[in-house]
Amino acid sequence: MRTTEVDPVIVVDSLRKTYGATTAVDGVSFSVKAGEVFGLLGSNGAGKTTTVECLEGLRKPDSGEVRVLGIDPLAHPERLRGRVGCQLQESHLPDRMRVWEALDLFAAAAPRPVDWTEVLEAWGLATKRDAAFSSLSGGQRQRLLVSLALVTDPDVVFLDEMTTGLDPAARHTSWELIEAIRARGTTVVLVTHFMDEAERLCDRVAVMDAGRIVAMARPSALIEAGAGAVRVKFTSAQPVGEPAGVDWLADVPHVHGVERRGRTVEVTGDGPVLAHVAGALLARGLEPSDLRVERPTLEETFLKLTGHGLE
């Protein structure tokens, strides 16, 4: 039964949370639709985790309203039993707890019994069934912690920095697994400070900075709106120091500027600039073998929106 009687699945309205003198979350509002993968993107200390912890019922908001599946997670945690899965940042299991025991225990928290052996298989932990938590590698731990979030077959899953500390191969495996979760129709809230992750996985992204949401849209829309120019680069065959070389490129449609550094020519422009530059080069009999385009990334958009990088 995966039809959601409440739509949107998550509603956050004017959420505020302070720790002493520090304002962690400063008036955040958003909603997440059923089946959506929603990203919370920001640098460390931007307030992402606090926001999610309020949604998980682990923290009490100072003010504002939070609803998950129409339920206040802090006031009625029992009504969300088994319907919400959480993977927390920096959480551990007891060292000597075995993989199957953890799955068995967490599955028992669901109102209806769940067969956890399928989850064990799906996440590639079958060979580690009897291994103690402390003996698992970083990637295996992470997979176990995520599979624990899914073992009750929840409607909503919160994944907080699930790929932090994983090697590149394990990160890509996790991405495939998130796509598998989405394919089942589960709503996913993904907290991350990795741009590539947000860009690849999320239907919508909220960019957080200093406790506020500074932008919220589809990743591609954010990129288009936030940043600017497409850059086309190639290596000029003409010797260095011949000024006449590439100036004519400035007259090609959609080109904004041309710059030459040594042998490398960089053309900035918008939209279909690549096609026009390529056509113009060919028309002049130039066939640079390394013509390439650099599209603006979410990272640049982020820099522009927040005025600082991700750490």
Partner: protein, 253 residues
């Protein structure tokens, strides 16, 4: 209930997988009992005005066995549980449980159940060893000792959870718990006989819950009847420590 049963069983397995603390908490009282029984003997002590060591009118062994059964409960609560729970707190295990709809109350209920089981195992081991080695007789009554043991084990379970809640780190919890354990053991009637202690030592001993647990258990065991006063003190420790532990975990949550 299903979740509680599962967690209790899981916690029991986790404790048994820590061989060092199990050996210490259950084996150490056993060794002490053996040493004291060998030193003071197992024959009843005749009342002798010249000898200050009276052992409450019974044999040293009869005096020490109930004391060490109480000590087994103290060992579990002071040596095993505080570091375990402090580690749960520090490493986010409790939060992880809570996020998975395993409430802290279920975790504590499981902890208490596990402590009863471990304390009972330790106590039974002492009784069995005393029976096998010294042909130690059965207690005068059964209900009284059971109730006294139950109340004492509850008090130490609550103290263990309280230490797990307030100690800054697992190491601190371990160190402080072991220290409390030794002070209580030496000064609460499970070490040197009370009669040879100075009044200062007795004063410190009386401030410890184990002192009162030992007397309550001995009284019931040796046929001196229910000692409601001492039982009440131990029960009060259980209630106060339990309330403080719950309040402390709430505040940190």
């Amino acid at each position: 209930m299903r979740l509680w049963r599962k967690l209790t069983w899981e916690e029991l397995k986790l404790f048994v997988r820590e061989p060092l603390t199990v050996v210490f908490a259950i084996g150490f009282p056993l060794i002490m009992l053996f040493v004291l029984a060998e030193v003071f003997g197992t024959a009843p002590v005749e009342p002798d005005p010249g000898d200050p060591i009276a052992f409450r009118g019974v044999s040293p062994l009869s005096y020490y066995v109930p004391a060490y059964v109480a000590l087994a409960a103290a060992a579990v609560g002071l040596v095993m549980v505080p570091a375990h729970l402090a580690a749960y707190r520090e490493r986010g295990v409790l939060r992880r449980f809570r996020a998975a709809s395993i409430p802290a109350s279920t975790v504590f209920a499981a902890q208490i159940a596990v402590q009863y089981v471990l304390a009972a195992a330790g106590g039974l081991l002492i009784i069995a060893a005393a029976y096998l080695a010294y042909d130690f007789p059965a207690p005068e009554a059964f209900l009284g000792p059971l109730v006294a043991f139950f109340v004492t084990a509850t008090a130490f379970a609550a103290l263990g959870i309280l230490l797990g809640a307030v100690m800054p780190s697992p190491r601190a919890a371990q160190g402080f718990g072991v220290m409390l354990f030794f002070v209580m053991m030496m000064l609460s009637g499970a070490g040197p006989p009370v009669d040879v202690m100075t009044s200062t030592m007795q004063g410190i001993g009386k401030a410890m819950p184990l002192w009162h647990g030992v007397i309550a258990l001995q009284d019931a065991w040796l046929g001196y009847g229910w000692n409601w006063g001492e039982l009440g003190i131990v029960a009060a420790v259980a209630v106060v420590a339990g309330a403080l532990a719950v309040a402390s975990f709430r505040r940190r949550a």
